[in-house]
Amino acid sequence: MHSRKTSKAIKMTTTYVILIISLLWTIFPLYWMVKSSFTIDKEMYVARPALFDIAFTTEHYVDLMVNAKFLVNLGNSLMIAAITTIFGLTVSVFASYAMTRLKYPGRKFFSSTVIISYLLPTAVLFIPMYIFVSKLGLGGTRWAMLVIYPTFVVPYCCYMLRSYFTAIPYALEEAALIDGCTRLQSLRHIVVPIALPGIAVTATFAFTMSWNEYLYAMIMTTSMKEMTATVAISSWKYGDIVNWGRIMAGCVVASLPVTIIYIIAQSLLVSGKADGSVK
């Protein structure tokens, strides 16, 4: 009895030590980003910067909101990411269900195409992709992203959802089907509720992917009011002058919404004990 207690104590100590080291490693760059965003410009360019001392200012945030009108860009990012996520997730829930549960001609072909399409390097595709959206009349606008982002969000969601769906025992569904449920009813009443934590995780990641995307958005948008948050941030490099204070403040602000969503998604994950029926 006693030894078990000690071994538990050792286990917990190891856990804490490893986690605290991991925490420091994770937090440090975040700390530095936040600190830089509150530091006056002059202090940012010093050899051997101090770890804790700070010449505090909020001027970068004022500049960000007033001069750079960053809210417009945040609004664009939010709209694009939200619509892409909703569309991508809806499409993917159905498609993944079909790919894991239904038998139909070309199923294998579709499954592997989804995967292969995801392999393609963005660097190959972005000029031809730009031409494509321009032909649709969307070149240079934020709407272009709504056409392009599903190309990486949908395959990603399908991947993730397929693995969650596969993990659900088929027997559960079989019972419902024998009871006279249609496929889609069983998807709605059985598969989706059980996979809900997984769906939430996938939604979170899909949202983040769209929110964080940079390369396509950089090519697709030209005017400031069409830009997403990430592109706007990188546009504050003026040739050889970089507005680091504004950039760091922009980084902090652009990171907040996704971070908050993650924290909420986490609580869903924790409360995701609704998966009792898996057992």
């Binding site: 997730l89 829930v93 009349g137 909420i264």
Partner: protein
């Protein structure tokens, strides 16, 4: 708010699932976008073609290079608005970050929705001239009183392809306080600069005497510096007839000199990754004593660090054993030949230069960062100011960045590919000798020049 959003997302998929539950009509709903989008794709080309003809109203698309100085943008916007009103032309004025300008232009040209008018630096816009994308501007160049140097900026072969907007001549920024501390005069030759640098160099305290960037990830500062040294030592990369003559004893000497600056620790080892921003930042951080740069850094010192500005002196480029060259760039207008509004774009440039007072004001608002391309502004109060005068003089003495090679696409490609920087990096990173570097240089130039 965010929780709401997430629940909205989840709710939406739920709703969709419910719809599906009530029958398979959800499937048909998904096909709706398929039907509406697929035909759009097929007819896209037609629509585009007919769109421009039928929609009578002209729309001039103008991509201007975003500048650090906010006033520039608003002044240009005012010119644009006035032009739009007086000429009855709709103008779409966009400020494009210069770092992304090239990629965006390339994509837009490929997609057939390029802007009509662009402003950018001459090496960037020049590359589009060499890709046969620019309209000739011979007419405009003959209508205004451009300076002699300005007339050479956009000349490729016998045709003018770019209208200069302003020179962005480089100067040498030097920490006068550090030099005075050791009782040193301002250097007049590169050799002298090096000897002085050894005295003020203090890397242990994070201060390197020199801040010459040598990174190859784009930007012209590093390439300009290498080429200046080669010319000052009597070497040439390509002669005026387009022959590659870079592998010469003079070039080897020049490369030896450049190498020694790094080998002797007068420049931070970081310089090999330094782009155009790097030397600005090093100077602003007080970690570099001398940098070569365009006037841009003055603008940021005025804003952020007036003390440093007071300690700074801007001097003319030092001379080498065989000469003293300053390689300068400029900002130029370019008209995209495939655009739909070539005539309107030309009208806009004329409109811009017709109001000479405004032009002068726009140059001055940039500080000394920009110098005029039109004759007759030298005597203004602004340019007679001690702080500004050296920049004007520098702009008048400047030669093109690829001097003395003939102006053509090959010269621009070599410059923008930073061939000289890469050769110097071979010495600094891979330990090549100056002789080997000169050979590498010759080979890489010949690849471009003898490709045809």
């Amino acid at each position: 708010m965010k929780r709401k959003l997430l629940s909205v997302i989840l709710a939406a998929s739920m709703v969709a699932a419910c719809l599906a539950g009530c029958g398979s009509d959800a499937g048909t709903q998904e096909t709706a976008p398929a039907e509406s989008e697929a035909p759009a794709e097929e007819t896209g080309e037609e629509a585009e073609a007919s769109g421009t003809e039928s929609s009578g109203a002209k729309k001039l698309v103008f991509w201007d290079k975003a500048e650090y100085v906010d006033e520039y943008g608003s002044m240009m916007k005012a010119v644009v608005d006035k032009f739009a009103e007086e000429q009855g032309v709709e103008v779409d004025y966009v400020n494009v970050p210069s770092a992304d300008m090239k990629q965006k232009l390339m994509a837009a040209i490929e997609a057939g929705n390029a802007p009509d008018l662009i402003v950018g630096d001459d090496t960037l816009v020049g590359q589009f001239a060499s890709l046969n994308q620019l309209e000739s501007v011979d007419d405009i160049m003959s209508e205004y009183d451009f300076t002699e140097a300005a007339l050479k900026v956009g000349l490729l072969g016998d045709t003018q392809y770019m209208v200069p907007q302003a020179f962005t001549a480089p100067g040498m920024y030097i920490r006068a306080d550090k030099w005075q501390e050791k009782g040193l005069d301002m250097p007049e030759t590169w050799e002298e600069l090096k000897e002085q640098a050894k005295i003020v160099n203090d890397p242990a305290n994070g201060f390197y005497a020199l801040g010459f960037a040598m990174g190859a990830s784009g930007g012209g500062d590093a390439e300009g510096f290498c080429r200046t040294i080669i010319l000052d030592w009597g070497g040439q990369t390509v002669d005026e007839n387009g022959n590659v003559v870079v592998n010469s004893p003079e070039t080897v000497e020049a490369l030896t000199f450049i190498k020694s600056l790094y080998d002797e620790g007068l420049i931070s080892p970081d310089a090999v990754t330094g782009d155009d921003m790097w030397n600005n930042q090093a100077y602003l951080a007080g970690t570099a004593g001398v940098i070569c740069n365009a006037g841009s850094i003055i603008a940021s010192m005025k804003n952020d660090d007036p003390d440093l500005l007071a300690k700074t002196q801007v001097i003319a480029y030092p001379a080498g054993p065989k000469g003293c060259y300053t390689l300068g760039g400029s900002n130029v207008f370019g008209i995209i030949a495939s655009g739909k509004n070539v005539a309107e774009a030309k009208d806009f440039i004329r409109f811009y230069y017709n109001d000479m007072d405004n032009y002068e004001a726009m140059i001055e608002v940039m500080g000394a960062m920009w110098q005029p391309v039109i004759n007759g502004m030298d005597d203004s109060e602004f340019w007679q100011d001690e702080m500004n005068k050296p920049w004007l003089e520098s702009s008048q003495q400047c030669v093109k960045t690829y001097y003395p090679a003939p102006s053509d696409d090959r010269a621009m490609t070599c410059f923008s590919s930073q061939l000289c920087v890469k050769a110097v990096q071979e010495m600094l990173i891979n330990g090549a000798t100056p002789e080997e570097a000169a050979e590498i240089l010759e080979k890489s130039f010949k690849e471009v020049y003898e490709a045809e």
